[in-house]
Symmetry: C2
Subunit: 96 residues, 2 copies
Amino acid sequence: MSIAELTDAEREALLAANPDWTLSRDGKAIERTFKFGDFNEAWGFMNRVALIAEKHDHHPEWFNVYNRVEITLTTHDADGLSQRDVDMVAAIAALL
Amino acid sequence: MSIAELTDAEREALLAANPDWTLSRDGKAIERTFKFGDFNEAWGFMNRVALIAEKHDHHPEWFNVYNRVEITLTTHDADGLSQRDVDMVAAIAALL
């Protein structure tokens, strides 16, 4: 694994600072559901996240239907959460 | 229900003409997985589908991770497949 997994303390700090995100059942990812007014708004948001993801070379697993967007962040090279996910959470927060 | 569900014969014809799409387990939706070279290509495709969906006012349920896109089409107002899904399949095929 080329990327360090967050320590327990770092993971706790991430979740404490971002209560809208929840840890996945296996503890290796964080998830958040976003609701928008309509598809136009949801897709605008997703496009902004897509540009950030491509720039960071760190891509979400995500699901969309109409105005709902579900984002899962994890770092496969760390087999869990890493600083890359922390950075993505911050970048997404800055959009909202 | 304001939109007519496809008849059995229409559904069979749709699937016969589009073998890359499969009927969901409950028979109310069709699904297809697309693979691209990278996220850039996958996202370009999704943006084209998003514009079509918005124009048709018929939005997919879809999932993306990196170069993989999974699309599910159904018509909630028909509680199953309708002509709207047939039209979306044709519009997506025209992109590829």
